[in-house]
């Protein structure tokens, strides 16, 4: 508590810190809310400039854009069906249908409030438990457990979203294949690269998201415009009521716990958090059939969890220097550029810095609630922009965003190829979120699988010697089995009819 007050005092008594806090908050919201850009783009662009800031200011800036960017990504997911980053994908499942029903304001309002609640809860847990949780996590999670978690995550992802069960699995496998393009993580050999050094850098999943969702959405809407079937979405600013949240209190609590726990896991992080939380929300719901058609609980589950994961991700980052995903990896870069090595020492030697970060993230979560509600009134008006202007603008921002991530021209080609591919695949009912998750999980899972095999002397059943790994593998298998049974039942009902 003392640390918290001290950190907050440092934040408000230092005008530069306060200015940075405000600009990071707004910049995160803006970058997160512009289709084609994301907080990752901002993080990459700002990196060279962060060198000129004092270390506590630099890390504060990144902590705040991390929080506000994840929320910002939700607004584009809802309004335009374009998730800002992968963890916002489940938000599109119910968010965009709500916009089509004319409930844009309510959907964005739900996302803001859920984000703020999830973020705040996880900040509190992060402040209390960073050191002990991190210690526990590294001793509990080795490549063996990590592979089992990836397997479980694949099963979860295949179970949710639009399209048929089989098409989701095909999509997932397609994603796993895309993940192998580039340099293999074990021997460093080129795969499907045809000797090209650019292709050997592999397909970056953040770029793939931009191509699949932003660019292909422009094609879809553009086609409608040409055919004269384009319908501008209706704008509304009716906000959700308190009673609505009270009804969802259990879902919020469950999603917060799932979000934080997933955030702690290195590598998997926020993306798994929102998918798993969404899938659990469907499982526990009395009306699972409503999900995917504009069910408010779907938005709340995804957004509470992905914001809750931001706090969780700070645990291994600060205590051990283990990044949980792309954004946190950049934060490690920020710390090292300031000659600080994340790890147990940072918590002791740079206590003030850590607490400024904690407090920054905490107050950012609170501020989202206030600022977000004001912003929603403005942002839903983005829907009023004629598509003939918005579409090209999205392509423009997507191109800049893609190149700025790695300064790699391959990424620019990727967004256009993925844009065209996404347009075609969507038309035939394949799941783009499943492809993206396949890429992410495949890249993590392959390395973990190889490491596990060496550790276990290439015994496939060796996973069952490790209780945690066994539990996740069985949970994954059970998840697949449950989905299979449900699919079989549904098709039987259909044939009976």
């Amino acid at each position: 508590m003392e640390n918290f007050l001290l950190g907050t005092y440092q934040l408000i008594s230092d005008p530069t810190a306060l200015l940075l806090f405000a600009s990071a908050l707004i910049a995160g919201l803006v970058f997160g809310s512009v289709p084609g850009l994301s907080s990752m783009t901002l993080a990459a662009i700002f990196l060279p400039f962060s060198v000129f800031l004092p270390s506590e200011h630099a890390i504060l800036f990144y902590g705040v854009i991390y929080v506000s960017g994840v929320y910002g990504g939700a607004t584009t997911a809802i309004l335009f069906n374009i998730p800002g980053s992968v963890e916002n994908t489940p938000t599109t499942f119910d968010g965009h249908p709500m916009v089509k029903k004319g409930q844009a304001g309510r959907a964005v309002g739900l996302a803001i409030t859920a984000s703020a609640i999830g973020g705040t809860i996880s900040c509190v847990v992060m402040m209390i438990g960073t050191a002990p949780i991190a210690r526990w996590a590294i001793s509990a999670i080795s490549p063996i457990e990590k592979f089992a978690i990836v397997f479980f995550a694949l099963a979860v992802v295949a179970g949710i979203g639009r399209g048929s069960f089989w098409k989701r699995w095909i999509s997932l496998f397609f994603g796993l294949w895309i993940g192998t393009i580039g340099t293999d993580p074990v021997g460093g050999l080129g795969r499907f690269a045809f000797g090209d050094y650019y292709v050997m850098t592999g397909i970056n999943f953040t770029v793939l998201i931009v191509g699949f969702f932003a660019v292909s959405e422009v094609f879809v809407q553009g086609e409608r415009l040409v055919r004269g079937t384009y319908k501008a979405p209706r704008v509304s600013v009716d906000f959700p009521r308190f009673a609505e949240f009270w009804r969802l209190k259990i879902a919020i609590l469950r999603s917060s716990v799932i979000g934080f726990a997933c955030g702690v896991l290195p590598g998997v992080g926020a993306a798994l958090a929102s998918f798993l939380s969404y899938s659990e929300a469907v499982r526990w719901s009395k009306h699972p059939e409503r999900f995917g058609t504009g069910e408010p609980e779907g938005i709340v589950a995804a957004e509470t969890a992905n914001n809750s994961a931001t706090g969780g991700a700070m645990v291994p980052l600060l205590a051990l220097g283990l990044p949980g995903g792309g954004f946190t990896a950049i934060m490690i870069g920020v710390l090292t550029l300031h000659d600080l090595t994340p790890g147990p020492l940072v918590m002791i030697q740079h206590k003030a810095l850590v607490w400024v970060l904690f407090c920054g993230m905490f107050w950012a979560s609170i501020a989202i609630l206030v600022l977000g509600l004001i912003e929603t009134r403005m942002i839903v008006n983005l829907l009023r922009i004629p598509f003939a202007i918005l579409g090209p603008a999205i392509i423009f921002f997507s191109t800049i965003g893609a190149f700025s991530l790695r300064n790699n021209i391959l990424d620019v080609w990727t967004i256009f190829v993925a844009g065209i591919l996404g347009y075609v695949l969507r038309r035939y009912g394949y799941s783009l979120p499943a492809i993206v998750m396949g890429v992410i999980l495949g890249q993590i899972g392959e390395e973990a699988f190889y490491q596990s095999m060496v550790l276990m002397d290439y015994r496939l059943l060796g996973f069952f010697d490790y209780p945690t790994a066994a539990v996740f593998l069985l949970l994954g298998a059970a998840t697949i089995a449950a989905h299979l049974i449900r699919t079989a039942r549904r098709s039987r009902v259909r044939t009976d009819r």
Partner: protein, 347 residues
């Protein structure tokens, strides 16, 4: 009211940015020693260093430290651009495609040697590009979890106990390593195994943090790493050095046994090095000017202080262009021989 507030923020922000850029611009100008002093008025504009690895890593830090020092010598801004991927190959098309005018510099490491020797790349660092200098040379150590009682004697790390354990459990002791066989780490580990008559299980972790975490978390027995990279984890008492892979013990780690001094290993270990290169067809006057400027930049006080802070003063870190070329050529031979012995693709 809100828009007013926003405007205020914007105005304040703009003022801050202007002030900052004025200060930065001024400092760049005031520290300009010899802008345009080179042949034909070189350098006339900003110089870019392409780093083939991610921000914050050892290579990135080296490029930024050298970049900051070179700015003072050259009098023009030196910008660092990270182009990571493909194990350090992804940056090469952009570097090789840039004009050979000295404005684009490549930062790379001994990885260029191992990539070439193992036939994964066709760029020979000894003949196809021109080095300006080696700026960092770092030796490696084996580390253990400082609380791992199996390897401690009187509370201090003891390599004899590590050896005893490895011999009693052939092929069971796990070593967290950057690569498996084909790079500096893999080849060195292979030599150690042969010399000590042990067999270990090498687990390759691409990400440094996972490598360290696996040993701190007690899931892997031993860590192979460059001294400078885990200094803070040693200071925090999480990791402890147990063997210096060097002929003599280091002054900063007087209790840590060394392969040469304590075990009589005669092999001169290959080291990790980080260098700057330009295109081979850069006009000679510009190449010579840049080499001299980088030598000056490496030696300035602030850069020396940085090297010391990172523990990169333990070995003589500077090598000029000709010495770097020779090191690269020698290492290509060493690694090619090692790969041939292991039955791997080699030059």
């Amino acid at each position: 009211m809100n828009s007013n507030l926003c405007l205020k923020f914007v105005r304040k922000g703009a003022a801050a940015v202007l002030a900052a850029s004025a200060i930065l611009g001024f400092s760049a100008m005031s520290s300009a020693v010899s802008a345009g002093d080179g042949p034909g008025g070189f350098p006339k504009r900003q110089i870019t260093i392409i780093v083939c690895f991610g921000a914050g890593g050892g290579s990135d830090q080296m490029a930024r430290a050298m970049g900051a020092a070179a700015e003072k010598v050259l009098g023009v801004p030196v910008v660092v651009t990270n182009k990571k991927g493909a194990g350090g190959l992804g940056c090469l098309p952009d570097f090789l495609g840039a004009p050979a005018d000295g404005y684009t510099i490549l930062q790379h490491t001994d990885n260029l040697v191992t990539l070439y020797a193992s036939k994964k790349s066709n760029l020979n660092p000894a003949t196809d590009i021109k080095p300006l200098l080696i700026a960092n040379v770092v030796a490696s150590q084996l580390f253990i979890n400082s609380k791992d009682k199996r390897f401690l004697t009187g509370g201090k790390p003891d390599f004899d106990k590590v050896l005893k354990y490895a011999k009693a459990n052939p092929g069971k002791m796990t070593v967290a390593n950057y690569g498996t066989t084909e790079n500096l780490e893999g080849v060195t580990m292979g030599k150690l195994e042969k010399f000590f008559g042990i067999k270990t299980k090498i687990i390759a972790f691409d990400k440094p943090a996972e490598r360290y975490g696996s040993v701190i978390g007690g899931r892997i027995d031993v860590l192979f790493e460059q001294i400078s990279d885990v200094r803070s984890l040693v200071q925090s008492g999480d990791l402890a050095p147990v063997l210096s892979i060097w002929p003599k013990r280091f002054k900063v780690y007087p209790d840590t046994k060394a392969t040469g001094q304590d075990y009589g290993m005669k092999w001169v270990p290959t080291v990790k090095w980080r260098a700057l290169f330009i295109r081979k067809d850069t006009p000679k006057p510009i190449a010579d000017f840049l080499e001299a400027a980088m030598k000056k930049a490496w030696a300035i006080e602030s850069h020396q202080a940085w090297l010391k802070k990172k523990g990169m003063h333990l070995l003589n870190s500077y090598r000029n262009s000709a010495e770097t070329t020779k090191i690269a050529a020698d290492e290509i031979k060493t690694y090619s021989d090692a790969y041939r012995d292991l039955g791997l693709p080699s030059r």
